[in-house]
Symmetry: C2
Subunit: 243 residues, 2 copies
């Protein structure tokens, strides 16, 4: 499937000013950036490749430079759930690295990606040498934690229909396009099975509910594109979720 050990494909340092400023790494000093760039290893991954597997020891931190990665948990009997999607600028594996645990999830490339790897000791070195980096990570982790709790709460309390609408609206951030005539649409890089895995549902149910929402005239479906016809009513339904 893929090489086990990533090797640098030598297209230059990953951490230039452009990428850095959007991530926690903008706390680094020039000297530290130098250390970072000397130790980072970058390569491309094809769709379908596995970056790391649930249970693997956590060797370091992965930074998504481009592409799309799904982080998925799978239990003994095949139940699987997508815990999060990682886009450009996101990091992968920072949680197990910081917690000094093994990976609790599997990261699989959805859209061809380029990913930079920083090994654990370099990361720790930088964390020790630059407390601001640590604070940034702390803040970031605490925020992500809050969002995870929020999602847990929703899965427990909301109907499937509401969860799907919520997901669609979330995905608009990354995949929404507004056409020249103002129509809003969503071109999803994900299989519907994956959508289902993101909200704790079965693919059949997702299919049914999407059709239902379509029949209500709120969206329109063609292939893996969702045209949002009544964004307002979607949002309404989300807020009125008495259901």
């Amino acid at each position: 499937m893929n090489d086990e050990r990533p090797e640098n494909d030598a297209t230059g340092p990953c951490l230039d000013a452009r990428h850095r400023t959007k991530t926690e790494w903008d706390a680094l000093t020039p000297a530290e950036i130098e250390i970072f760039n000397r130790n980072v290893v970058c390569r491309t991954y094809d769709a379908g490749s596995i970056i790391f597997m649930q249970g693997d020891p956590c060797k370091g931190l992965y930074l998504v430079e481009r592409g799309l990665v799904a982080v998925r948990k799978i239990d003994e009997m095949g139940q699987s759930a997508i815990v999060r999607l990682a886009h450009q600028g996101d990091s992968l594996g920072y949680r197990p690295l910081l917690a000094k645990e093994n990976h609790r999830a599997t990261a699989k490339v959805i859209k061809d990606a380029r990913i930079c790897f920083v090994n654990a000791s370099t990361t720790r070195l930088l964390l020790v040498s630059n407390p601001r980096l640590g604070m940034k990570f702390l803040e970031h982790t605490a925020q992500a934690f809050g969002e995870a709790e929020e999602r847990m709460f929703q899965i427990a309390a909301l109907s499937l229909r509401t969860r799907i609408i919520h997901l669609l609206i979330l995905l608009l951030d990354h995949y929404g396009k507004t056409a020249s005539d103002g129509t809003l649409s969503l071109d999803l890089p994900l299989a519907w099975r994956d959508l289902a895995d993101m909200i704790g549902a079965r693919p059949e149910s997702v299919s049914r509910i999407l059709r239902e929402i379509k029949d209500d005239g709120l969206i329109n479906l063609s292939g893996s594109t969702v045209r949002i016809d009544r964004f307002d009513r979607l949002v309404d339904e989300l807020h009125n979720n008495l259901n």
Copy 2:
């Protein structure tokens, strides 16, 4: 219900060597402990008191010295879920403090507690002055995050019966007692309603399932004590959860 502003009840410094070593605070130097102790405010809370409410700005960090506190999320339409329990040595409100957010949950005392409060600026001061403290928090937060994700996964994937069994086994850590004749039992400080809120269920359902498990001969119930008769079979069921 309670005083709004906690006041020190002057029974001496909270952070003595005994308590400190079990928490992230053992990274502090003597000078820092001095700062800590000058700024900490401790008081007791009766069962039922609210320590902070969902939506409140996060003023600082609370440390549970003794007693039991439930951290609970409540949504617009009354749905509520217990996010975690805090025992002796646990801290409350560190997540919103670090993420610089408001509280996303309400902390309510279940068993009379003594709680120490450190305001945000003192905490931040200590975090800056002692990077090791930051690393400890980072590690702690990352671990808690992992556990939250695990729980989310379970709520989505496991049957109610399996979730209850899982919860019972978790609670054994804190509330399990082994009698002289070797019988294992669980003396719960929680109402059934609270158990339900910990696993995203209704109290009626919890009652039914517990009765079912009892009828299967795995446990026995009397009041709020659960006698574990067949620990082995409980664990089996957890692992075989095909259901």
